[in-house]
Amino acid sequence: MLLEKKERLDAHSSPLADVMARAGDIILGKEHQIQLAMACILAKGHLLIEDVPGVGKTTLSHVLASLLGLHYQRIQFTSDLLPADIVGVSIFDRESSTFRFHPGPVFSQVILADEINRASPKAQSALLEAMEEHQVTADGETMPLPTPFFVIATQNPSHQIGTFPLPESQLDRFLMRIKLGYPNQAAERALLKGEDRRELIAKITPAMTVAQLLALQNAATGIFVSDALIDYVQALIHHTRDSAHFEMGLSPRAGLALLRASQAWAMMAGRQQVLPEDVQAVAPSVVGHRLRAITSGETKILDAAQELLRNVAIP
């Protein structure tokens, strides 16, 4: 691991490395998760962060949005949230005697959807079109969303009180789902001794311009994918469809997501081509929320992804 990490840093003493380093300064002891989140953004995907309250989900999303220099809005999802609260609403303007559309928080480059599974399915689904189509339809009018556009959502594990589990269709729209987990002892100690995270976020200056981010996103799609690697990805997908361990096989969209995320990961590692290791690094996050192991409950879903990787040989 040491060897690899060193390489990665050497290859990218660039804005990207800068973002990672500075995010690591605020979110302590979560380098891997930060990398995954970054890879997700570089792969133009939406990110879902899932964990119990208080481990820094919201902080991570704020930090990422700030460091990337993007315009972001936060929506706190609650059970009485209405679609109009997300998309926007038309209000009659007395002066011009017309309805004027007041854009909702969705019209921003990053949406921080906090505790997304606390909202009713109706409100959740308002995000659907925006996430997939990068456009919003209100009052019969379709309006494009800014570029880049992505959603960083956080959610509590579904066994917690007052949650509406995300429908599978919406889960599938998130490229990755990552879990933060508790910080280790050293990180927690540093956290307890250190400054207030909110203040730190407020002080953040962007480490990257929008143009740089778009260039990196485009570069990620150019990372070479060989036939041998496609064979491996296909073997993984087919295993989920043939094996008796999973409730449902991975969709073609999941396969694409796996490939995109792997490309972004390879690029972050400074490679020109995708290796099976890249697929294996991102697979638990990409596949975890789309696969359901037949014998397991919530806690075993991540294990299902590991199970998949363990059982499929690299061709």
């Binding site: 691991m1 060897l3 690899e4 070479f224 060989s226 036939d227 041998a228 690697l229 043939d242 008796a244 020109q272 081509q273 995708v274 290796l275 099976p276 290791e277 294996q280 990787l309 363990r310 059982n311 499929v312 040989a313 690299i314 061709p315």
Partner: protein, 705 residues
């Protein structure tokens, strides 16, 4: 594990179809109620599969089983033997189909189905049956494939094609088992035979019998002549000798056994090998007269005083024997008083005109030879040869000789002997086969049932028993050129053959016979003797069951190794590119490393190259400087852009240029475009060479080049 889902309608239908195929040839000799039970069980099973019902309860199955066993006992009056055994096997298998619930049941049914396919050979060993059983096995394997599917239903293609492949792969093993399995001869291994009516010559002769026989095209036996093939008119294959006139017909007289025939040889010996089709009688056919009993049949064959050759057991399976005959001979045994009496006796109540004619002839011609001459003229001038003579009454010979004057060999032989006996000359009827046609393809002579013939033997005091064929007086063609020449197209016999001017049908018939003959020789008739001959061809003598057993084991290993090797090679060829193969070799070399911590350094199937290198580095850091370039090359070739451009034949050619490695790996794509294959091929060659040179025992400062 076959769960309930595998017992689907389609699978059940396949199984039932396979069962129907394998049982179908048995239906002709099964009792009707057994067939009905099987059909009912099949339909019931189908109904259960359609409606997803339960199998019948165990007590009902028990009652049915007992009832069927009792029924079989009453049908056959016993519970052991071929017929009852096969019947019980079939009906129990059908019941098993009815009650199967688990994989175990399915496997049992299918494996017993294979065994059932085998039982068909107890009834017929023809080429058709062989092909049919191949088909049955094919269907059963296809069925088995269907039952092994877990989630999805197998299509017909997915069943039939893999099944065919499986059978093809089994062929070497099949040949080894067939040729090398020790052949034992003994009562344990002989086929259980029960009485069956097989058409052929019969023990008695009354006009009409041989007429129907003449129409049968079935093969009686085949003959391979060692050197010269005798002329058609010399080919008299002796069968039963009929010396007694009983009623209107002729029957044999029992005579004493001989181990040697006593005669004077007057011509060079003719050596030949007879391959006799099973006819369930004891007759062994040979040309008049055989010098000695066949060596193969020592103790199991004997001669009779009337020159017949017989077997002690009925010929129930294909046998072959070598005989030497002398076509020119003079018998030396004297005519005993009893023989004379037997050869002169006739039924004086019937055929008064014939008897009177014979007596008058004897008065006119005191010399027996003159008398025979006289008869020759009579037959030659006034009689016609036909296979469809008019029906004859009680005094058949009178009617034939003086009224209809039409008939075939039986009529001539019968009337001739009767006249001679009335004239006081000892004579008897001899039946057997006459002639035979040569298959131009195998040069083998085929004697068919239609070559059945009856002729006579007349006793002359100075010549002994002399063969006289009255049919040849009437129709020399019958003797010289065969039956079809004699009867012509107006006869019922083989009008089709006559219409076949170009000889296509004839040619086909000969070809088919050639195939059949090979089948008989190499498949059905492959017994201990032939196996011994086979071994002797390879210079192995004195084989017994131990040496064949050993050869069998070796053969199984070789056949299994060859098939396994070919299959492995195919998989390897289709799946592994040179780069992957070289990488696998590298991993195999690394797997031999003993890590100092005792960890296993075998690459796990899901371990990527970088992870693997990482793991090795943590145990053997000194190897990294040498391994890192190799792994980089591998990654570039397998996952990099180089791999894309070097795909196809270029990689294979690259191996030939391994001696001139270049260092152009990882060049900008503009350059690679100009020499795409070259670059990739060189990189591949370099990588393969690097892997070949890599030694795990090297220290860090030595390099691969």
């Amino acid at each position: 594990m076959i769960n309930q889902g595998a017992l689907t309608l389609a699978n059940i239908m396949w199984l039932l179809a396979a069962m129907s195929f394998v049982i179908a040839p048995h239906v002709s000799h099964l009792p009707a109620w057994v067939t009905a039970t099987c059909v009912a069980a099949g339909l019931w099973r189908l109904w259960i599969a359609r409606k997803a019902l339960r199998a019948p309860p165990w007590w009902l199955m028990a009652i049915i089983t007992v009832a069927i066993t009792v029924g079989a006992f009453f049908e056959y009056k016993r519970l052991f033997g071929r017929e009852v055994g096969v019947t019980l096997l079939i009906v129990m298998l059908c019941l098993k189909v009815l009650e199967m619930k688990m994989k175990r049941d399915v496997l049992l049914v299918i494996f017993l189905g294979f065994f059932l396919a085998l039982t068909n050979f107890l009834y017929s060993q023809s080429i058709f049956m062989g092909a049919y059983m191949f088909g049955c096995v094919w269907i059963f394997i296809a069925t088995l494939i269907g039952f092994q599917r877990i989630n999805t239903e197998a299509t017909i293609r997915e069943r039939v094609i893999p099944a065919a492949w499986l059978m093809l792969q089994a062929i070497p093993m099949m040949l080894v088992l067939f040729f090398l399995f020790p052949r034992l001869s003994g009562p344990l291994w002989s086929m259980p035979q029960e009485n069956q009516a097989i058409s052929g010559l019969s023990d008695s002769m009354t006009p009409g019998d041989i007429s129907s026989l003449s129409l049968s095209d079935a093969i009686a036996f085949r003959v391979d002549f060692e050197s010269v093939t005798p002329q058609s008119q010399e080919l008299y294959w002796r069968g039963p000798v009929l010396a007694r006139q009983s009623g209107r017909g002729w029957t044999p007289i029992s005579t004493e056994e001989r181990s040697q025939l006593n005669f004077e040889k007057r011509s060079p010996p003719i050596k030949y090998r007879v391959t006799l089709q099973p006819h369930n009688k004891t007759w062994l056919f040979a040309l008049d007269l055989p010098a000695a009993l066949p060596a193969e049949a020592q103790g199991r064959a004997f001669f009779l005083a009337d020159f017949q050759m017989r077997s002690r057991e009925p010929v129930s399976q294909l046998i072959a024997y070598d005989v030497t005959s002398y076509l020119g001979y003079r018998t030396l045994d004297p005519l005993t008083p009893i023989d004379r009496q037997n050869s002169l006796r006739y039924n004086s109540n019937l055929n008064p005109r014939t008897i009177a004619y014979g007596k008058k002839l004897a008065e006119d011609n005191p010399d027996p030879k003159a008398l025979v001459e006289k008869l020759f003229t009579l037959y030659n001038k006034e009689f016609t040869y036909t296979l469809e003579p008019p029906k004859l009454g009680v005094n058949s010979m009178d009617e034939f000789l003086f009224e209809t004057k039409q008939g075939f060999c039986e009529h001539y032989a019968g009337s001739f002997v009767l006249i001679l006996r009335a004239a006081g000359i000892p004579a008897r009827v001899v039946t057997g086969y006459q002639g035979g046609d040569i298959n131009p393809i195998t040069k083998q002579m085929i004697v068919r049932q239609s070559d059945a013939h009856a002729w006579t033997e007349v006793w002359f005091d100075d010549l002994g028993w002399l063969r006289v064929d009255p049919t040849s007086f009437v129709s020399p063609l019958r003797i010289n050129r065969g039956l079809s020449a004699a009867v012509g197209p107006q006869g019922a016999f083989n009008i089709m053959m006559e219409a076949d001017k170009l000889g296509i049908l004839r040619q086909l018939r000969y070809s088919w016979d050639a195939v059949n003959s090979q089948w008989n020789q190499w498949v059905v008739g492959f017994n201990a003797d032939r196996q011994r001959n086979l071994f002797e061809n390879f210079g192995i003598r004195d084989v017994d069951w131990r040496s064949t057993g050993l050869a069998l084991l070796i053969g199984i290993f070789i056949a299994g190794g060859v098939v396994g090797g070919v299959l492995f090679w195919r998989v390897y060829q289709t799946q592994k590119e040179p780069v992957v193969a070289a990488y696998d070799r590298l991993c195999a070399k690394l797997a031999l490393l003993k890590s100092n911590t005792g960890a296993d350094l075998t690459r796990t199937p899901e371990e990527g190259p970088m992870d693997f290198l990482q793991r090795i580095a943590s145990h053997h850091p000194r190897l990294v400087p040498e391994l890192k370039p190799l792994f980089d090359q591998y990654i570039a070739l397998r996952y990099g852009q180089l791999q894309e451009q070097g795909q196809g034949r270029g990689q294979g050619q690259g191996q030939g240029r391994a001696k001139r490695p270049s260092h152009r790996r990882g060049q900008p794509s503009g350059h690679a475009d100009r020499l795409p294959n070259r670059t990739a091929a060189d990189a591949t060659a370099q990588f393969i060479l690097g892997v070949r040179r890599f030694r795990t025992s090297r220290t860090t400062n030595s390099t691969a080049r």
